[in-house]
């Protein structure tokens, strides 16, 4: 098959026009939040999955919204990480929890949560501290919060389910613990 140069120009022009007409919908323009596509789809021009910048909940600069190409996809596979500020606070919280100061550790983690409120890893950290304090009910709730926030990140969701499992075990509810453990395993083997 040979496509002449003029034909390929026509094809390119048609493709561009078609893409544009496909991407721009007619008035009134419905605003599609980034979670607009079915799972797995990456629209042209967006960051490919797996390249989520650290600290997934950074706010845009004063008075401006992030351009779409810089926004981490809220849909599709992603991996949550902690930004440097949150990492430093989590490290401090671990040290505090390690010496039995669960109250202090919780306060430190709440600081981290104010910086990255949508990061499931932080909710799991706080849930673990609650478990350490003997508050299994809150550990469970925070595990569920983490699972809800971690859509698209199986290993974070699995960590959430493991926290839920531990909170059931702490309350002597072994069958439910086993079930939660299973859900974790299905998402991420380790």
């Amino acid at each position: 098959m040979r496509i002449s140069r003029s034909s390929s120009a026509v094809v390119s022009a048609w493709l561009i026009a078609a893409c544009l007409s496909g991407c721009v919908v007619s008035r009134p323009e419905p605003t599609l939040p980034p979670g607009a596509l079915p799972p797995g789809e990456t629209p042209p021009g967006e960051t490919p999955p797996g390249e989520t910048p650290p600290g997934s909940a950074q706010p845009p600069g004063p008075g401006e919204a992030q351009p779409p190409s810089e926004r981490p996809p809220a849909q599709g596979p992603r991996q949550f990480r902690l930004g440097p500020a949150a990492t430093a606070l989590v490290t401090q919280a671990h040290a505090q929890a390690g010496s039995g100061e669960f109250g202090q550790a919780a306060v430190t983690l709440e600081r981290a949560l104010r910086i990255e409120p949508d990061n499931p890893l932080l909710w799991i950290e706080l849930g673990r501290v609650r478990l350490g304090e003997g508050n299994a009910a809150q550990a469970d709730a925070m595990g569920r919060k983490a699972v809800a926030l971690a859509t698209g990140d199986p290993s974070a969701q699995a960590a959430g389910w493991r926290l839920i499992a531990d909170s059931f075990r702490a309350r002597g509810r072994d069958p439910e613990a086993a079930e939660a453990e299973q859900r974790a395993g299905a998402l991420s083997p380790h």
Binding site: M1, C19, T31, L32, A57, P62, A65, V107, A148
Partner: protein, 743 residues
């Protein structure tokens, strides 16, 4: 006579003891956390430092100063105590860039990943009396101050027994000649007594009473104690309704900084003001005030308290007062703090001296909110002649944490009176609708595309009367999809849905989300005949903004005792109160309220590209105008109306929405971008009819999220290759065309 003296003695010592041993609780705003990546401009950082009373100097000579060198700001931080940490004075270097803070380093050049500035003192409250003071201990008082007070007001303070007879006689002579009370002649102790008992009319009998009580105080307490009491008690200014008592508060009020940081000329000014805070008001009577200040300096030099050349140099300095009364004063927020403490503390705990209370107040958000309310209400006032002033109230939270970051109780923001945010119980009107639709979504029988009937309703009530609600436009819209019924706030359609899912279930939803009292289960409940305060409305919507997880809204984070012992923590707590799938579907519909429904007026004010969700609320006969809405990081609920409950004539979109939009626009906020839970699917439907469409089939489409297994009837004539994804469709077509070329 002896009994009377004894009586006065007991009276005044009781007052003194009462004030002395009840140090007020000090209330702090949330500290600003600094870290690399924080979107804060250099100007904003400077504003924060100045709010905390930091002075821009070169070099950094002591804690409380900062300097700017190009893109770097160096700060000499003051020592600070948090609920969970004590930090000594330290140096911090912040490098700023176009997107915000780029790096933080300490004095040794080490990278600092995160550091919080000291929290702003926003009030000192005697939790029981509710007064406002910044009590200073002797350590915090510059040595110059007592010396200056004695030199100017009471030379023989250290030696007399409460009264200075010579001074009194001299004053008596002058006053008799003038036939009225002119000259003071009062000792500091007498002034202190006068301050306790607020005697404005100076009769001779009063003066005798004062003299006796002053002598009683002098007999019971040391000079040092009396001086300290005086420094904390004396009236030094008026800020609207708020009296400024004590040099600690006065220092904040006039200069915006702590008493310990005042220089000679500033101390002299405060001493000058003692004789008449109105008459010598440095803001209103600058010349007079300055003349007296310089006189004070002269006296101080004459008495040998300061060197003559220092006094002369100080007299050359400008007054140095801030143009607006400085020092934060947020009565509505303090009110909430007081109530939280009273609810959780027994009264005897509250009298413990010197509690430190750490709150979630964000001073930037608070000021933004106050300006927005004042400005928009003034604008609304100008539109029509009004029988009474419009009022408003609002609450701002960060939904994930449940922190209340701002409260405004009325348009007169400095007024410490009726706090509408906490106490105005008003009909929630259409604010109730999201909870009706959430109940419907949870039932499994409705989704965003479900077609419901906006049709006339005629219900016979239990009392025999007929209830015939109407839409605000008085029109009837027929079959409409749920997303449209919510976006356009259609009463008839909503009542239909509500009656179908049942009043008990709707009531249950409201209570799950934090409605404190069970609502009266009458059909009018579906149109919001439920009374809530703005704070309660914020609690309800907070659960929607946080994906169905309820956190009790809190203003107080922690309380510690005067010596740093943690007394009470208010830890972050969540509980799941609704299915994340249902809440997500609802939240997406609330986004459409903002895109094309009753909230679309906000678009003009908000930054381009910011995704928000919300709901307008208008109660029957337009008595209450509400707007509740959230972004990715903030929730704000605004109420506008008349205190008398008279109809205002405008809807939630016309009244409360502009206030809400201006607040959101001024906060450094992020788009709502919650992830879509598994098991849901996004599709396009026709906004008027609810039929499923693909791009090109309709001029009027809206994106909705429905359960993955929902079947939505398609618009006839529309084709849906693949799963209807427009880009895949186009690319598939292009590929087919290319293949066609090849053959």
């Amino acid at each position: 006579m002896a009994l009377y003296v004894l009586y006065l003695d007991l009276l005044v010592t009781h007052q003194f003891e009462g004030r002395r041993w009840t140090l007020p609780a000090q209330v702090y705003a949330a500290p600003l956390e600094l870290y690399a990546g924080l979107a804060l401009s250099p100007a904003e950082l400077e504003e924060e430092l100045q709010r905390l009373g930091y002075r821009r100097t070169t070099p950094l000579d002591r804690p409380g100063t900062y300097r700017v060198q190009g893109e770097r700001i160096d700060v000499a931080l003051r020592p600070v105590r948090f609920a969970d940490e004590t930090r000594t004075a330290t140096l911090l270097s912040v490098v700023t860039g176009p997107k915000g803070l780029e790096s933080l380093r300490d004095g040794a050049g080490q990278e600092v990943p995160v550091l919080r500035l000291e929290p702003l003192l926003i009030g000192s409250i005697f939790p029981i009396h509710g007064e406002d003071r910044i009590v200073v201990t002797p350590q915090e008082v510059p040595a110059l101050l007592p010396a200056a007070l004695k030199a100017v007001e009471d030379r023989k303070f250290d030696s007399h027994h409460g009264v200075d007879p010579v001074a009194m006689l001299r004053a008596l002579w002058v006053n008799v000649r003038a036939r009225q009370i002119e000259q003071g002649g009062s000792t500091l102790t007498q002034q202190l007594v006068r301050s306790y008992f607020l005697s404005t009319r100076q009769t001779f009998t009063r003066k005798i009473r004062e003299a006796i009580m002053a002598m009683a105080l002098d007999a019971h307490f040391t000079k040092a104690d009396l001086m300290n009491a005086y420094i904390n008690e004396i009236f030094l200014g008026q800020d609207g309704d708020r009296a400024i008592h004590g040099f600690g508060l006065a220092s904040q009020f006039y200069f915006g900084k702590p008493l310990a940081e005042l220089d000679l000329s500033e101390v002299a000014l405060l001493v000058a003001v003692v004789r008449g805070p109105s008459y010598y008001d440095p803001r209103r009577h600058a010349e007079r005030s300055r003349a007296r200040r310089d006189l004070v300096l002269k006296v101080m030099a004459e008495q040998g308290i300061v060197k003559a050349e220092d006094a002369t140099a100080a007299a050359r300095r400008p007054l140095g007062v801030t143009s607006r009364p400085a020092g934060a004063y947020y009565p509505a927020y303090l009110d909430f703090v007081r109530r939280t403490l009273r609810r959780d503390y027994h009264d005897q705990d509250l009298t413990e001296a010197g509690l430190k209370i750490y709150t979630s107040l964000d001073p930037r958000a608070q000021e933004q909110a106050e300006h927005a309310l004042e400005r928009e209400l003034a604008r609304l006032d100008r539109q029509h002649k009004r029988p009474e002033p419009l009022e408003g109230a609002l609450v701002v939270t960060t939904p994930q944490s449940g922190d209340v970051i701002a409260i405004v109780g009325g348009r007169n923001v400095g007024y410490d009176g009726f706090d509408r945010a906490l106490d105005a119980h008003r009909s929630m009107g259409s604010l109730v609708k999201p909870f009706i639709y959430l109940t419907a979504l949870e039932s499994g029988r409705y989704n965003a595309a479900t077609v419901v009937q906006d049709a006339p309703i005629d219900l016979k009530l239990a009392n025999g009367r007929h209830w015939q609600p109407e839409n605000f436009t008085h029109e009837v819209y027929g079959p409409v999809p749920v997303v449209r019924a919510l976006a356009e706030s259609l009463n008839l359609a909503t009542v239909g849905v509500g009656l179908d899912v049942g009043l008990p279930k709707v009531a249950d939803t409201l209570q799950r989300f934090g409605l404190p009292q069970p609502p009266l289960q009458v059909p009018a409940m579906l149109l919001g005949a439920v009374e809530v305060t703005p704070l309660e409305a914020a609690q309800l919507f907070n659960g929607l903004a946080s994906g169905g997880f309820h956190n009790p809204l809190r203003a107080v984070r922690a309380v510690i005792s005067a010596d740093g012992k943690p007394l009470k923590a208010f830890p972050l707590e969540v509980s799941q109160v609704a299915s994340p799938e249902a809440v997500y579907q609802l939240d997406r519909m609330l986004v459409e309220v903002m895109e094309r429904g009753t909230g679309r007026g906000a678009r003009a004010v908000l930054p381009a590209g910011l995704t928000v969700a919300g709901k307008s609320g208008t109660s029957s006969e337009f008595r209450d105008s509400w707007f509740a809405g959230f972004s990715g990081s903030h929730l704000a609920v605004v109420w506008v109306g008349y205190d008398s409950d008279e109809p205002t004539g405008f809807t939630g979109s016309a009244g409360a929405l502009p206030v809400w939009a201006h607040i959101m626009a001024g906060l450094n906020t992020s788009s709502w971008e919650a992830p879509m839970p598994e098991g849901l699917a996004e599709m396009h439907i026709e906004f008027p009819t609810g039929l499923r469409v693909a791009p090109g089939c309709s001029d009027d489409m809206v994106a909705v999220v429905v359960p993955g297994d929902a079947s939505v009837p398609a618009k006839p004539g529309c084709s849906f290759p693949d799963n209807g994804n427009p880009v895949t469709t186009i690319l598939n077509r292009a590929e087919q065309w290319l293949r066609g070329l090849a053959h």
